[in-house]
Symmetry: C2
């Protein structure tokens, strides 16, 4: 995707909080989301610093025209699906116009700044809601390091993966009704699992509750009809944007039920960050597809194209943090569980989508793909506890010794794209606090 | 579910085709569906013999009141979701009223028959469309005979199944966007599979295209919030009705990709029959839950309740038939592939739902569960080709020798509930014709 004036590193905004160093939402980002002020219906907006630009206020005040207006009007409801369903042009025009309106030097500043009190809502005055009614959620598994952590390395020093892993991006269909917005508490599930040393399973609160640090991929465009694949050439422009995604995983349930893959071990909850960081905003941070180790199978023809090989990856530094009840009580900052880079995935987002649609599976706006756990090679880059625990229990700043998640733990995901010579952009947060399991009925 | 006057075996309709022996849609059935006449928008209706009762014509002519009217008005759009989302009462009241209106003896006959030309649409004058926009589709696996066909029997004479199978109803999340209405052609997928004897996979048209004969289960009621399970006591009244379901299965793709369970091997298409046969209509055909063989694990407490044990099963005779291009050309009737009984499933529909929601997974109207392949113990009851082929290739009346499905084959599912002393009811058909795979792009 070519860079344009919206990516220029010297752009600054007249919204002061957008110019703070390391802000997630400088004027180069402009992600879309849906917010709600107390007692009002939800509205669509764009993050700028610590403010939200109210898109319908922009429409009402006549700030948009042409393709930009078409995009803003598509975002006129309580949900961004109609915006995502457009071809990429209108959203791109809207981005350019928002950049003009919000930059500190330029002809549109005066017009916008005069309306600031009508256009801008402080993030602290609003709650974020799901940006899109999730139509379908599927989850891929594309980190060799995630899989290889359990199996070790082969004689080439490469993570050992099942044969299928290097021939296609493995995935499974998940549960859309389980996708919740950052901040939603997550209930520890009851389920069927095998206690250590037991040979028959029991039903009760999941003892091995885990998180998984992932990137979420939002499908964009009019979609394909059932039976019609999406080629690798067309796949990248069918991705509207990205978010953070915590694929909460109940390992006891998952391991016992696994005959047909992940099911109830996953459908308890999937937490996403509220802002859709557009593929266009991420253009400066594109990277070549991961180089395949020598002796790996060649990239399959149906998943190979020039532009995906040269810029199909994305450099996004991801981290997961935890905050226990005791940490909150004693005033500790969240503790980092891992740090990893989305660039190290074996398959690109376009490859994930092209593979997923290769059998004719139908996609439309509202579809969300998870990348799978984004683990990297180092021990610090183990992006779930299942991997982290291979090195044994770990310790919080409060000296609490931990294995799996405990009730009242909050897991926080963060992500940020950086590149020398460009202004870095962030994803905000995907957080969730684990609530105790419901008590089982003990009466007959 | 108690029987009432709508189930009475002596009821006959003034619609003559409803009284024909072995009609799928006698007055005791009254299933809901969505139909469209050429050039019109879709409308909701109820099958009676070879006619469709137009529900909104009934509303417009003042035939309903009270709870029955509430149900008919909920079905006022192009989709039955709002009807399914109600508590069971209104749909039951509507059924009682429809039964009064359509029966040949009774006070409401004159009123309805006088309006017949406005109320009734011949099935041959309409096409059926999806009755519900499928929100989520998941598929279970609850036939010991399906699994055991591959593994053989144990020393008790019971099918050998993985340990998990007898401790909970195994399942996986599927793809809602792949669900199509009976009659929709199905495209053979391209995908990645291992040819016999090969060690590296290839990408191309699926060589082992299969069908699976299943029952579809339509969720009904207001649904549960994420994190709140549905108890086995409440599960059966959260099932609105049933349909036939062909879970088209690409075995080559499925076998190669299987690391995280079924995915692209399944999401090519899932065909359902158009009529939702209500749980209430099936009340006379309920059967006890399958008796567990001695030495099997006990029914888990969270999946056990008295009424599900005594009437959680349903006796539905199911069959799959095939019609090849040559059979059509030469005038042969469809050829039976298998005949089986839904009563032989190891887990009941209520157990499938209660298990699925046991971790707090959220359900709502629009959710569809597949039962998994409904195979029975006999060789004739192998409800997919993967099982049938264990006995070797099979032959069509045209002397065509077959293994997997071939292009232009049509697969037809039928189902019928019968019980001594009651009028049997049918499901109509779920049919699909297999189209050739798309040609691969051979250019670079």
């Amino acid at each position: 995707m070519p860079l344009n004036e919206t990516h220029a590193p010297d752009l600054r905004s007249w919204v002061p909080s957008a110019n703070v160093a390391d802000s997630d939402f400088p004027i180069q980002n402009l992600p879309f989301g849906v917010f709600r002020r107390p007692g009002e219906t939800a509205r669509t907006g764009v993050a700028i610093g610590e403010e939200i630009f109210d898109l319908q206020a922009g429409v009402a005040n006549g700030l948009f025209e042409g393709e930009a207006l078409r995009a803003a009007e598509a975002a006129g409801g309580e949900d961004l699906t109609p915006l995502l369903a457009l071809e990429p042009g209108p959203a791109s025009a809207l981005r350019r116009r928002l950049s003009e309106l919000l930059r500190d030097a330029g002809p549109a500043r005066a017009e916008a700044e005069a309306l600031a009190s009508r256009l801008l809502v402080r993030m602290t005055d609003a709650e974020m809601v799901l940006p899109v009614r999730v139509r379908q959620f599927s989850d891929m598994c594309v980190s060799t390091f995630h899989i290889g952590r359990f199996a070790g390395n082969d004689e080439r020093g490469q993570p050992i993966t099942p044969p299928v892993f290097r021939t296609l991006p493995v995935g499974y269909d998940g549960r859309a009704s389980s996708v919740v917005i950052s901040g939603t508490p997550v209930r520890r599930p009851n389920g069927t699992w095998l206690a250590e040393g037991a040979t028959t399973p029991q039903f009760g609160p999941e003892p091995r509750q885990d998180y998984e640090l992932e990137i979420g991929i939002w499908f964009g465009g009019p979609g394909n009809a059932l039976g019609e694949p999406i080629s690798i050439q067309n796949a990248s422009r069918s991705i509207f944007g990205y978010c953070l995604l915590n694929d909460w995983s109940a390992r006891g349930i998952q391991m016992w039920e696994a005959m047909l893959g992940p099911f109830l071990g996953k459908s308890l909850a999937t937490t996403i960050s509220p802002w859709i960081v557009t593929a266009e905003a991420l253009a400066p941070f594109r990277a070549p597809a991961l180089a395949r180790p020598e002796d790996d199978p060649q990239t399959p023809r149906q998943l190979w194209c020039e532009h995906d090989q040269t810029e199909g990856g994305i450099a996004i530094v991801l981290e997961a943090l935890i905050s226990s009840a005791a940490m909150v009580r004693d005033g500790f900052s969240p503790h980092r569980l891992c740090q990893t880079d989305f660039r190290q995935m074996y398959w690109t987002p376009a490859q994930m989508l092209a593979h997923h649609a290769s059998n004719g599976c139908a996609f439309a706006a509202g579809d969300l793909l998870g990348s799978g756990t984004c683990s990297g090679p180092s021990e610090d880059a183990a992006a779930c506890l299942f991997e982290k625990l291979l090195a044994g229990p770990w310790t919080l700043p409060t000296d609490e010794v931990r294995t799996w998640l405990e009730d009242e733990d909050t897991v926080i995901l963060r992500g940020r794209a950086e590149r020398e010579g460009y202004v870095g952009i962030g994803f905000g947060e995907a957080t969730g606090k684990l609530l105790p399991a419901h008590a089982l009925h003990t009466s007959a």
